[in-house]
Symmetry: C3
Subunit: 316 residues, 3 copies
Amino acid sequence: MNRVVVLGVSLKFEGRDIISVKDFSRKEIDYILKISQAMEPLATKGSDMLKGKILATLFYEPSTRTRLSFEAAMHKLGGSAIGFAEAEIASVKKGENLADTIRVVENYADVIALRHPLEGAARLAAEFSKVPIMNGGSGAGEHPTQALLDLYTIMKEKGKISGLKIALAGDLRYGRTVHSLAYALSLYNIELYLVSPELLRMRREVLETIREKIPVTTRTSLEKVVSQVDVLYVTRIQKERFPDPAEYAKIKGSCKITLETLNRAKEDLIILHPLPRVDEISAEVDGTSYARYFQQVWNGIVVRMTLLALILGAIK
Amino acid sequence: MNRVVVLGVSLKFEGRDIISVKDFSRKEIDYILKISQAMEPLATKGSDMLKGKILATLFYEPSTRTRLSFEAAMHKLGGSAIGFAEAEIASVKKGENLADTIRVVENYADVIALRHPLEGAARLAAEFSKVPIMNGGSGAGEHPTQALLDLYTIMKEKGKISGLKIALAGDLRYGRTVHSLAYALSLYNIELYLVSPELLRMRREVLETIREKIPVTTRTSLEKVVSQVDVLYVTRIQKERFPDPAEYAKIKGSCKITLETLNRAKEDLIILHPLPRVDEISAEVDGTSYARYFQQVWNGIVVRMTLLALILGAIK
Amino acid sequence: MNRVVVLGVSLKFEGRDIISVKDFSRKEIDYILKISQAMEPLATKGSDMLKGKILATLFYEPSTRTRLSFEAAMHKLGGSAIGFAEAEIASVKKGENLADTIRVVENYADVIALRHPLEGAARLAAEFSKVPIMNGGSGAGEHPTQALLDLYTIMKEKGKISGLKIALAGDLRYGRTVHSLAYALSLYNIELYLVSPELLRMRREVLETIREKIPVTTRTSLEKVVSQVDVLYVTRIQKERFPDPAEYAKIKGSCKITLETLNRAKEDLIILHPLPRVDEISAEVDGTSYARYFQQVWNGIVVRMTLLALILGAIK
């Protein structure tokens, strides 16, 4: 029962699951961002805050990036990590259901990071688990730690979130990170631009929810948007989503960020991307002052350290 | 040369391999169970007992559960773990034999946990290894750490082993855990019931050995057994074992533990299962006072911590 | 900026990549060998020298042996390890290029050990990485940590390198370890014998480089060489290299080291092999005083500990 007081409210994180950004209030998110700032030096020099604690990474679909980020965060806090990186090598092969796997692994670990192809898997796991579940991405639905690190990156780079004009571009339909992020951004006073091909436009239920809170403009091309925004968040468009390869080729070109695209960008525009990228951002952009997508990766470590420390009760 | 004295006998564990329960005397097993009791608080709060020591988990067939249990046990004692989880990613691909692999890995690690599809693999490994080998399951033959954690669970739940009536049910032919367990149980004054379809009855060599020591009753149905026993140990029946799917379907149903099956069970019956289960125990049983199969998982950590600490000489 | 002074010269290792033995001067290699000697007791009893540091092992092709050696070295210095063991489970599946992967992983780890099927991959990675890259084998080209452990083994066993007659036998064309080793040996005053079937003879560019520095004799049979040399370094001949299976069978037999082959060997000959071996060295040789290939594995841990400690600035 560890409670922290920020801005006059009492917050409780110990023992909590991290399933969806929707489970967190604006005040709680602000607190996570504030603690993350304080966590930065520990991310550099290490800590013994979680010595003796074990993280289990149960990754039912491959995501080297997210898995290694969770494990590095745990190691930097002095803890250790166990887990598996593919469903094929898991008990799953023998037909075990997720609930049983969770009730087994909760005996091995103090916290479980779960990645699963099905929406709702993390929520189900949390219902059965005695130890906190961290959703490392489930289905096309949610990726809350990614959304929190995205917010942290914006806050760190811009000094604020409210007041900004932010564009989400690319696959807004299947990309799980943009769903979590759009919801989280709607807690702040921002103007949101959603840029995607028709086929990949933002899911209606997400759109309806955020439209009640903030002004949202939808576009099918970046052209007019890029000069207006402070933050451009780009996501990968997957070839498999298109029935017709010709259509994919056409759209791919129109969504690509190049130096030319950025001609009329604000001087202090920042470009984010959850990575991996394929062709969405030209390599020539990497060296510009706009590019922040690799710094995002570092921020992911910091935010995951914060979340681990909070839910395991190491920060009171 | 660390010797411990229990009940007036001198016991030596440091440097020993854990290949088969048959290598352990009743006194040695009792000692392991007693140390495990003392190990419980360390399993909760962690320890530095094996700081600087390395466990190698060489798993030539997938067993997430057993591998993670060994690794968690090592981490909880302050040690670290390296290894592989599939033969495919091992040197095996290049044609290396097991003896060479062991003579390589013994240079990396202080103890090796080996899982292998062939019976006798762990014994062979122990002959070549300078460091202790722990058998994490080899072929259909032996799974000694599972048998020891099963015994520990019975002892912890019942306060004793001798004097109990214990049923082993399911696949007694191919299930490696029941072979090790049946042998270990025969060292105690128990009454054993073996319940399985004809096709999957206990192997003759195991049956003959244990019949010399304890009373054994064989049955093809749980019906009359369930009301008589104190402990019901259930194992998974694999579809692949049956040439005729119809026969499998019939047998599967007849072996399943449901609330109805347990109607006439003793009030203090406990049900164990090495997991993963598929259909053998209905989910409705999980919430009853009989179910102990998830607690078994925790006990596995405790017993493996005990064995690691003993054979690495950390307990004297 | 840590500099060490050996033999009157100033050496700098902190922050350096380990890509090719060609990047190291004779003085630097001598220094690595000397520090390795001092590292031996820490390899046995462990150390906290790299506590809080993280090694990432990015293995795009399987090499259990090398990966576990790097990880064990890191653990023995008190650090931790994260990584992947197969390209398939990496972001690669999603089409990410190596440069991006490196710019992500450098945020997770203090040092990266990379194994990659393409020559030049490690060099490319080093160009993009902010943290040191250790080449764990790239293409058929280089395997510098293997070459350094080979040198260390010779020094440890013979007390010197210069003055020795050394034969490299087997696949000298595709075996990456022999390319790195031949180059490193050419920095010492040795006589080199290259023994291989015509099809697998040493690459011309390597041969030309080392011939400028040391006397080199090429042979297609071990017969006359074995009685003359102090060190016999054997490598695996892979069946896949031969278009005609019959030719492979013939050659395989002619290259095999048996007790008979060793009849006229010097009494203090030592036999090395980077392992895994398949048929090149008969098992009957393992028990002789010549065999040093399993000790080589231990030396690999020691040398990799040395390199990690040096490039991470723990040894000044």
